[in-house]
């Protein structure tokens, strides 16, 4: 800061916050050393990968510069079917259903249930452990278990049979996941149960951090449980809710929902989604000489989906920020 007479002149560096004290400068080598490897990692595996993906999207099946991949993607969107025989309209429609089931229904319910569970329910610890089991055991184990439940010899088919439901021969033979009309909806039912329980972990943590004194004083003033939930607890954890909603918007087209595992990697019987579609390509790339020609198409498809998702995320963020209140407790 330069002082001329009684006027102080603030330099450009100071205004921008780029002025550093000697002590701060002495710590630069340490700081740059500790962030060096993570910065190289992110530069390579985020920025370079994204640029490379962008460049690949302008190549054809033999790797030459071309708009062929984009033409294929646009044709696939217009006609509803890609050059590999997948129905893109079905994939996008199913991704939307998955998103609604997981985030609109499942997550919304878990916001309320986790409040009741954390603040008003006896035995909440036991419930919490049970609800987190699907998340803890992971996709392969949980889906492995659920596939047995939906199989022809599983509990669900047995229950339906004992209730006298006349099941089609394919269900009796291959189970509910082996029949076009039931497979996707069985996965959705399982997803709904899982997402209702899964949201509890993060929500419970947020609710537990609200001091009990807030609720106690509200109760003394005659506040009931419903008002407590909607007018005290939820506004208090709104930053957590809005952040989770932003993350949810980001996963619009990437959620696979175990479709790959449920369908044994084939997407059969309508068990598909955009996430499944993209993962399937990644697996194809790992098989030598079978996937090289799809780099361009996959990258163009990904970029196209990103362009579709970006406005949704940014509008969503703006809207959520409008309702954001800074709550301190």
């Amino acid at each position: 800061m330069e002082v001329k007479g009684d006027k102080m002149k603030v330099t450009y560096k100071e205004r921008k916050g780029w002025h550093y004290s000697k002590l701060e400068k002495s710590k630069f080598p340490f700081v740059y050393l500790i962030v060096a490897l993570p910065v190289i990692q992110i530069a390579l595996f985020f920025f370079y990968v994204n640029l490379s993906s962008f460049a690949l999207s302008f190549t054809n099946s033999v790797g030459e510069w071309s708009l062929e991949s984009y033409k294929k993607v646009i044709n696939a969107f217009v006609s509803g079917e890609d050059h590999l025989g997948f129905s893109l309209h079905e994939l996008i429609g199913k991704s939307m259903i998955i998103w609604v089931v997981n985030h609109v229904i499942g997550f919304s319910i878990s916001i309320l249930t986790s409040f009741i569970l954390t603040k008003h329910m006896i035995g909440s610890k036991i419930f919490r452990i049970i609800y987190h089991i699907p998340g803890i055991v992971g996709g392969v184990v949980f889906i492995g278990v659920m596939k047995e439940m939906f199989s022809s010899s599983g509990v669900v088919v047995s229950m339906l049979e004992s209730l006298g439901v006349d099941l089609p021969i394919n269900i009796r033979k291959y189970g509910l996941l082996g029949y076009e009309q039931t497979a996707f909806w069985c996965v959705m039912a399982e997803q709904l149960i899982r997402s209702m329980a899964g949201g509890n972990m993060i929500m419970a943590g947020a609710y537990m951090r609200i001091p009990n004194e807030i609720f106690e004083s509200a109760q003394l003033e005659g506040c009931g449980i419903v008002r407590e939930a909607f007018q005290i607890a939820m506004p208090c954890i709104w930053p957590t809710i809005s952040t989770m909603l932003i993350f949810a918007l980001c996963s619009f087209f990437t959620a696979d929902c175990g479709m790959y595992l449920y369908s044994d990697g084939t997407g059969k019987f309508g068990m598909t989604s955009v996430g499944y579609y993209l993962y399937r390509f990644n697996v194809a790339l790992t098989i030598a000489s079978s996937g090289d020609h799809i780099y361009g198409y996959v990258s163009a498809f990904g970029l196209f989906m990103t362009l579709l998702t970006l406005p949704v995320v940014f509008i969503g963020r703006k809207l959520l920020a409008k309702f954001q209140e800074n709550v301190e407790f």
């Binding site: 701060e24 710590k27 630069f28 340490f30 700081v31 962030v35 490897l37 993570p38 990692q41 992110i42 390579l44 595996f45 990968v49 249930t113 009741i116 610890k125 419930f127 452990i129 049970i130 987190h132 089991i133 055991v137 992971g138 996709g139 392969v140 184990v141 492995g144 278990v145 047995e148 439940m149 010899s153 149960i193 209702m196 943590g205 951090r209 009931g224 449980i225 930053p239 957590t240 809005s242 952040t243 993350f247 918007l249 980001c250 087209f253 990437t254 044994d264 955009v274 993209l278 993962y279 390509f281 990644n282 697996v283 790339l285 790992t286 990258s299 989906m305 970006l310 995320v313 963020r317």
Partner: protein
């Protein structure tokens, strides 16, 4: 005594509730019980079938809840009979899961801690840019870069290469860094400043002053990430398919098994054995995870 006290206070609370609130809470209690049964019963079913002898297990009888044979030997047989690719045993897959999980946890949490510490506690040119990157990577949805990422890893020789895969996992700008950043901001600078006055250098301050303060968070994140990594089949399928982990092994076993009677009970036992470490860790550390791992608002 403590339980009696809690029960008494719960009873007192219950008495003070209005009729509407009593009905409201009772409905939720029923909902919680039904949800718990729906979540837990499949595992009881699988456990029950995992302790049947191959002879007892068949499609006509496996609907019964309780077994009469209690063949716990199936759990020992997993080590010899759960085999994929013709020669990779459960032991090998277990070892692969262990090294992949712990290597990932070490490099990922170390990178996250260093980035979060630098961003939260120091002013330096580029700080704003790095903070922006951390936020950007969290909230901007980029779809379909798997192909380009695979191509890069392939070109760098990271596919099926345990010696280099660690660098791919060294992401210091992910969810863990985001959470650690918030925690570092909340830690008072006075501890580090006192240590500095006492002559400690930056490494000593980080290792002896700062690290112990965020250790509970690191343990919570480690348990959380352990569960995710232990169950991750995708990395093993795409990047390390010559080193199959248990999660990938379960997928392959289920795919390739001809489902002999013995294969099915062994598969059930292997499913539960694979799930056990995560469940035990969660049960032990659940309070630590809930208290430490939280998502706040995103600013920027």
């Amino acid at each position: 005594m403590n339980i009696k006290k809690k029960l008494n206070s719960a009873l007192l609370k219950w008495k003070n509730l209005s009729l509407f609130e009593k009905i409201f809470l009772t409905s939720f209690f029923i909902y919680f019980v039904v949800e718990a049964v729906l979540q837990f019963y499949p595992f009881v079913w699988v456990f029950n079938n995992s302790i049947k002898t191959p002879d007892e297990f068949n499609y006509a009888t496996n609907k019964s809840l309780l077994t009469t044979t209690w063949a716990f030997s199936n759990y020992i047989n997993v080590f010899s009979e759960f085999v994929i690719y013709g020669n990779i045993s459960y032991f090998t897959m277990l070892w692969n899961s262990i090294w992949q999980t712990f290597l990932y946890l070490f490099v990922n949490l170390l990178a996250s801690m260093l980035v979060a510490y630098a961003l939260a506690k120091f002013r330096f040119p580029g700080r704003g840019l790095l903070y922006g990157i951390m936020i950007f990577t969290q909230i901007v949805p980029i779809v379909g870069t798997g192909a380009a990422s695979y191509k890069l890893r392939y070109e760098l020789g990271m596919i099926n290469n345990p010696a280099t895969i660690w660098f791919y996992w060294m992401n210091g700008f992910d969810y863990s860094a985001f959470i650690m950043f918030g925690t570092f901001l909340g830690i008072s600078k006075s501890y580090s400043e006192s240590a500095e006055i006492d002559g400690a250098n930056e490494w000593q301050i980080l290792g002896r002053v700062v690290f112990p303060q965020i250790l509970p968070l690191i343990i919570a994140l480690a348990v959380n990430n352990f569960v995710a990594r232990w169950n991750d089949y995708a990395t093993a399928q795409i990047s390390l398919n010559k080193f199959p982990s248990l999660a990938y092994g379960l997928y392959l076993f289920q795919q390739n098994s001809n489902w002999s009677k013995s294969g099915k009970v062994i598969y059930y036992a292997a499913l539960l054995m694979t799930a056990l470490p995560g469940v035990l860790l969660y049960v032990v550390f659940q309070n630590l995870i809930i208290k430490n791992v939280s998502v706040g608002g995103i600013k920027g």
